[in-house]
């Protein structure tokens, strides 16, 4: 068995918003390289805040968030892009550009970081192949189903070969069949590329089906943390 090293360490993380709401209380969490973790919890449990702090959209009020040896809590705004280049982020609403084709949407991520055009082509096609959408490269997002659009978003997130993939309720807008398809894609990426995947969700069926590590949050605190866990606690 290969040795697992911590990729993410959260120590005493506390987040209080300016409006006085405290979203996260004293959170400690460790996630190893190559893990697939579901973050579950109801509305207001703090999962979105936690996810946002991981890609440094939000800064914790107290505590440390160490990703790949760097404390991102202390990262200056002007340096955030360096962190984001090493991450892939997938959102519930896909966030695709409607006027660009599937290929252009994925290539956009590489163009934005100044990649060479010859590399852009190779990497984009590879990412589209990985999510099974190579045949739809010339289509526009509105010609695709929700599941396919989300796969485009995943292709865009992994096109730069990140070590960490952060997904904020990626199946929130999809029906159960498509949700499963998406998590299958993520699972594939996790297994074949060794990418660490963190997925926030409140989809019970998905969590129960895939039997991954489950971190359950409630009111800003970790309630449960199970290897091969289930989403069966009605209180969460």
């Amino acid at each position: 068995m290969k040795k697992l090293v911590e990729l993410i360490t959260l120590k005493g993380v506390h987040k209080k918003y300016k409006n006085g709401v405290t979203a996260i209380y004293d959170l400690d969490l460790k996630i190893k390289k190559g893990e697939f973790v579901f973050i579950i919890g109801g509305s207001g449990s703090g999962k979105s805040t936690l996810i946002k702090m991981l890609y440094r959209e939000e800064r914790p009020t107290m505590g440390e968030i160490i990703i790949g040896g760097k404390n991102v809590a202390k990262l200056r705004n002007s340096k955030v892009y360096k962190l984001r280049r090493r991450l892939g982020i997938v959102f519930q609403d896909y966030r695709l550009l409607p006027k660009l084709t599937v290929y252009e949407n994925v290539a956009f991520a590489l163009e934005a970081i100044g990649e060479k055009s010859s590399d852009i082509r190779i990497k984009t096609l590879k990412a589209l192949e990985l999510v099974g959408l190579k045949g739809k490269a010339r289509n526009y997002p509105d010609e695709l189903s929700g599941g396919e659009q989300q796969r485009v978003a995943i292709a865009r997130a992994i096109v730069n070969n990140p070590k960490l993939l952060i997904c904020d309720e990626p199946t929130g807008n999809l029906d159960p069949l498509m949700s499963e398809e998406i998590v299958n894609v993520l699972d594939d990426i996790n297994k074949t590329m060794g990418t660490t995947v963190i997925m926030a969700t409140h989809d019970r069926d998905i969590v129960n089906k895939f039997k991954k590590r489950v971190v359950a949050l409630k009111a800003g605190r970790v309630m449960e943390d199970y290897e091969e866990g289930k989403y069966d606690n009605e209180a969460i």
């Binding site: 360096k82 966030r95 956009f108 991520a109 970081i113």
Partner: protein, 301 residues
């Protein structure tokens, strides 16, 4: 290489958004064109005025007549006083009446013709000094000072006329300057609004760029370039008007003389190119200031 690629992308995006917000871009471009047209006219005027007022100034001469029968000590005293005056240029010219009398007596014919032109015939028998001053604005002051000297009978110069001309030019220049400043402020404001709209229309794109790790510079770059392009496009019309307009105007005049041989305009070349360059630089700077302000205010990264 990477830098060039990013700049290329920035320029492409900037042109796209100028096109996308066409009506507002046109408004900004027109506004900047009008401003720059006035700037160009003001520059052309002010350089010409500076040029010929300098010529006038160097030509203005004060004539000082001394009293009749001054002694040689009084003359040397007077000359010493003149030398000590800071506004009086040292190369004055003295006209000795004795020499003149001799000359005139020899040329009887000349004497008869000139004599009728002079009001006070006696004046030609006075000692007279042709004096030039350093600062034309203080000519009045200097003339009074000289007139107050005991040996001086009268001081003549183009009283009033020269000063009035200089102060009129001064006023025109100041008014043009104020108008230009106001127009620049209005233009900056319009450009801020144009870029603001671009930022709003590209909000989604910007948020995705941030997520995939585009640097702040990459995100801001197209907007700054857009301001640059607006400034550049806005300066096209004023540059054309300056180059062709001024050259045509100059050519309609008799050898560049306006109204009289007294006012000589600057030759169009290389003057028009210099003015055009200044106009383009101002346009581009104003465009970039506008876009820079908009980016700082509306593009939160």
């Amino acid at each position: 290489m990477k830098l060039f690629r990013m700049i290329k992308c920035g320029i492409r995006d900037a042109f796209k958004s100028v096109y996308r917000n066409f009506s507002l871009s046109i408004a900004s471009i027109s506004c900047i064109s009008i401003t720059l047209l006035i700037v160009a006219i003001a520059l052309v005027m002010s350089f010409n005025v500076k040029n010929f007022s300098k010529e006038i100034e160097s030509d203005v001469t004060m004539v000082v007549f001394l009293n009749l029968g001054v002694t040689s000590e009084e003359i040397s005293d007077f000359e010493a006083t003149l030398s000590s005056m800071e506004n009086v240029l040292p190369d004055w010219e003295v006209k000795n009446p004795e020499e003149r009398k001799e000359m005139l007596l020899e040329e009887d014919e000349f004497w008869n013709s000139v004599g009728s032109l002079i009001d006070n015939e006696e004046e030609i028998f006075h000692y007279s000094y042709m004096i030039k001053v350093e600062d034309i604005n203080r000519i009045n002051e200097t003339a009074t000072e000289i007139e107050n000297l005991p040996v001086v009978q009268v001081v003549n110069y183009g009283e009033g006329m020269v000063e009035q001309m200089v102060s009129t030019f001064d006023l025109v220049e100041k008014v043009a300057f104020v108008v230009v400043i106001i127009l620049i402020i209005v233009t900056v404001f319009l450009i801020v609004n144009t870029i603001k709209l671009t930022i709003f229309s590209r909000r989604r794109e910007i948020s995705i760029m941030r997520v995939v790790g585009a640097s702040n510079w990459t995100i801001k770059n197209p907007f700054i370039i857009e301001g640059f392009i607006i400034g550049l496009l806005g300066s096209i019309l004023p540059v054309i008007v300056t180059i062709y307009g001024y050259t045509a105007f100059y050519n309609t005049l008799d050898d560049g003389h306006l109204f009289s041989s007294f006012i000589q305009l600057l030759s169009p070349q290389p003057f028009v190119y210099f003015v055009s360059l200044v106009v383009i630089v101002i346009g581009v700077i104003v465009g970039m200031i506008g876009s820079g302000r908009a980016v700082r205010k509306y593009l939160k990264i």
